[in-house]
């Protein structure tokens, strides 16, 4: 049972990491344009000599 003493903190830490990452994505506006994000992935910016800057 003593394994619990370090396994539970590890589980909580990893879960907390996921939570922090998710809250960061909300804060940085990554859900503001779900439709645009889905389409942008298909665009070939690299062929353009002057790609549009990403400001976020």
């Amino acid at each position: 049972m003593s394994a619990l003493l370090y396994l539970i903190p590890i589980a909580l830490f990893m879960g907390g990491l996921g939570l922090a990452a998710f809250i960061w994505t909300v804060k940085s506006g990554q859900y503001d344009d779900m439709e645009g994000a889905a389409r942008r992935i298909l665009l070939d910016d690299d062929e353009d000599e002057d790609p549009p800057l990403e400001h976020r």
Partner: protein
């Protein structure tokens, strides 16, 4: 596809979902914001951007302008943010570039843009994430406790598990429960009870009793139930919020329509760009071809053809001379006009219509949604049951206060409306997604509920039953050569008849030396000979003049003149759609601002027996009110700005994607394409969605009937509560997903 490739294909959305816009260019200079570091920023609403190609086209095109640092288009909201440095480019160049690419841009009031940030949605997402994290981790510990309940786990370890669960669940529940606590508190302050009252009560009591049990080395703690409850409810809350946010966005785009700019003459005769709301009566304004009149006014000088379809709904343009009245929103087509403003923007026609629309929207907001109706029945029942359980165990069962409270809390937890909170939003999200795939945009969840209740549909004529644009009717009688020659002249004009010829001929050359003769036609030189395309008397043909609005003549040199005939055609499936609606028990009716004779013709071909002509916007509202007073719930389908108030006042409303912005904003549904069938599809999917929501409610009721006796008599352990809660939520969502695969379009 690189940016340079996309620039070479035609203007407008490369996917073909939306035709290229051909409105004029506004000067957004009054809306530019200066940032602290010296850069300039402009926010524009872009109309017509529908696909990924549009993103690269617009962002790529703007990035090529000198000085532009950043251009980013939000495809979901249609907002474009551009920032640049230096004075090399002017705000007008940006608007011009967007217009050249085939999109329409309207400046966006920066104050409105600040409000646009969806704080509430982000708040709900954060709460949901925290509740989800807590649920997963507490469940991890709870499962271990449940597995070890028969003696494998010592009381010491179990208490440690309970304490760890508590340290996670208590702060998480207090954080994630805020949306419910707030709403419950404000309801209680007003002496009312909503669904959030039993939710908040259940969360607090579950936490309280769990702390008490943990302190007293009890076997059961409900920490997992408290956070699980919040997680499921927050999913429903967030889905619902997203549907509502879309409706709010639509209302804001109507406000953006008013934030237009105009070119005003200063005292010394120079032109300046001003925001429409700064125009005072008496100002002299320049109206170039392609501009919309920003305020009501009179023509001071010049003569031009003006598209007044925003006001009357009819597509044939009117000729305006000095002294004629212009309403705000009318579109100047052929040549420059100088107008004198007679009203401020807030007293002009668009503002009047906006007020009428707002009145209609308020009427709609009185609609009580199905979920709220269910909650009104549900809340008192749950409270009474929990109280009865407490008193019953205390006085009849002769139990201790601890057991009585435990069982009362179990009733609150098990009846907590997880399934009820998900029942409507889950179905509406699936239905909305499905309609979107079929080319129908749904603006709010309750629009689906309202459309499903409809038993009559009122149609506008021009642009709704018909396509709303003139098409060349006698294409077979005209030789290809003549058509191409006429089109080479017509390309220089914005007149609807000229546009129809260009549409029939396709891409091609422009004739030499072409110029527009407003009110008459177009003139130019083809193969060294003078050619004219336009009105009969101007071209030199005798005509009775009765069909002036639907015919044009082409004559080159001394050749014989050729007659071009135009007609507005019915949407191909109008009659079928109306017949299908009839067979579903929905009565159709046509209201039009047009004269009785053409109205009768269209009504007959569409298979409509009920129609009224010469209707003003207020007449249309009066007719809808009359129907409502008779107990008929009527939906309105219309496209003109003159229909917008009626769209807002109707029980539910639809408008085609070609409709005026205000009408699209006022309508609950916007459908794309040249067919009328989406009206039928939207109705059928709405009816199916309503059936699913009711099924979900029935299931939730059934679940409660089974679960409540268990809770009342004290058989509900935390394990049973967790199984029941997640099980019912999953079943409700699975039932909603059935809508995705059903065949409603058949």
């Amino acid at each position: 596809m690189s940016v340079s490739d996309t620039l070479e294909v035609g203007p407008g959305c490369p996917s073909g979902l939306e035709p290229a816009a051909d409105a004029g260019v506004i000067d957004p200079a009054p809306f530019v914001r200066r940032l602290r570091d010296g850069a300039a920023q402009l926010e524009l609403s872009i109309y017509g951007a529908k696909c990924g190609g549009c993103i690269s086209k617009i962002e790529g095109g703007l990035s090529k302008l000198p000085g532009v640092e950043n251009a980013r288009l939000n495809l979901s909201t249609g907002k474009l943010a551009v920032s640049w440095r230096g004075e090399i480019i002017k705000p007008r160049d940006i608007a011009q570039t967007i217009s050249d690419l085939g999109y329409r841009a309207a400046p966006f009031d920066p104050q409105a843009a600040e409000r646009e940030q969806d704080e509430e949605g982000k708040f709900l997402l954060r709460c949901m994430a925290v509740a989800g994290f807590a649920m997963a981790n507490v469940m991890l510990l709870s499962v271990a406790v449940w597995a070890g309940l028969d003696g494998e786990m010592g009381p010491g370890t179990r208490m440690m598990m309970h304490w760890i669960s508590g340290t996670i669940a208590i702060p998480a529940a207090l954080f994630a429960g805020r949306p419910f606590f707030r709403s419950a508190w404000s309801a209680l302050k007003n002496g009312k009870a909503n669904m959030d009252v039993p939710i908040s009560l259940a969360v607090f009591l579950a936490l309280g009793i769990s702390i008490y049990e943990t302190l007293n080395h009890g076997r059961h703690a409900y920490f997992d139930a408290a956070v699980m409850l919040l997680f499921f409810l927050l999913i429903g809350r967030w889905l619902d919020h997203r549907l509502r946010a879309r409706a709010r966005e639509a209302a804001q785009s109507l406000l953006a329509l008013q934030a237009t700019t105009a070119s005003r003459f200063t005292a010394n005769g120079l032109l300046e760009a001003v925001s429409a709301k700064d125009i005072a009566p008496g100002d002299r304004l320049l109206l170039s071809p392609g501009d919309r009149a920003p305020v009501n006014g009179v023509v001071e000088s010049g003569a031009s053809e003006v598209d007044v379809s925003l006001v009357t709904g009819e597509s044939a343009p009117e000729k305006m001379n000095a002294g004629d009245t212009l309403y705000s929103g009318v579109l100047n087509l052929s040549s420059r006009l100088i107008m004198r403003a007679t009203a401020r923007a807030e007293d002009s026609l668009i503002a009047d219509l906006t007020r009428l629309i707002e009145t209609g929207e308020q009427g709609k907001s009185k609609y009580v949604r199905l979920a709220d109706r269910a909650a009104a029945l549900y809340v008192p029942v749950v409270h009474t049951l929990a109280l009865a359980t407490l008193l019953g165990w205390l006085f009849i069962g002769d139990a201790t206060l601890r057991v009585a409270v435990m069982n009362a809390v179990a009733v609150l937890i098990i009846t907590c409306p997880c399934a009820l909170g998900l029942a409507a939003p889950a179905v509406q999200v699936v239905a909305t997604g499905r309609l979107f795939k079929e080319g129908v945009l749904v603006k709010s969840g309750d629009a689906l509920e309202r459309l499903a209740e409809v038993d009559a549909i009122v149609f506008d004529k021009t642009g709704t039953l018909t396509l709303g644009r003139m098409r060349l009717a006698n294409l077979d009688d005209i030789s290809h050569e003549i058509l191409m020659q006429a089109a080479s002249l017509a390309r220089a004009s914005r007149h609807p008849l000229a546009r129809a010829v260009v549409a029939a001929a396709g891409a091609g050359q422009l004739a030499e030396d072409v110029h527009d003769a407003p009110g008459y036609g177009v003139e130019g030189v083809i193969d060294g000979e003078k050619a004219r395309f336009g009105r009969a008397d101007w071209v030199g043909v005798k005509s009775d003049g009765a069909n002036a609005a639907s015919e044009a003549w082409f004559k080159r040199g001394d050749d014989a003149a050729v007659r071009f005939e135009f007609a507005d055609s019915l949407r191909t499936d109008t009659a079928e759609t109306i017949a299908a609606l009839q067979s579903e028990g929905v009565v159709s009716e046509m209201l039009t601002g047009d004269r009785p004779a053409p109205a009768a013709r269209i009504a007959e071909r569409a298979g409509l027996s009920a129609w009224r002509a010469n209707m003003t916007p207020t007449d249309k509202i009066a007719r809808l009110t009359a129907l409502r007073d008779k107990g008929v719930k009527a939906a309105m389908v219309g496209d003109g700005l003159n229909d917008a108030p009626a769209l807002a006042a109707a029980h539910a409303s639809l408008s085609p994607g070609t409709a005026a912005d205000a009408s699209q904003a006022a309508a609950d549904f916007v459908f794309q394409g040249d067919s009328l069938a989406p009206v039928l599809t939207a109705f059928e999917v709405s009816k199916k969605a309503r059936a699913r929501v009711l099924e979900n409610f029935k299931f939730a009721a059934f679940y409660n009937i089974c679960a409540i006796p268990l809770a009342v008599f004290g058989f509900v352990t935390p394990l049973i509560a967790a199984l029941a809660m997640s099980g019912s939520s999953v079943i409700v969502i699975a039932n909603a997903l059935r809508l995705k695969t059903g065949n409603a379009s058949s």
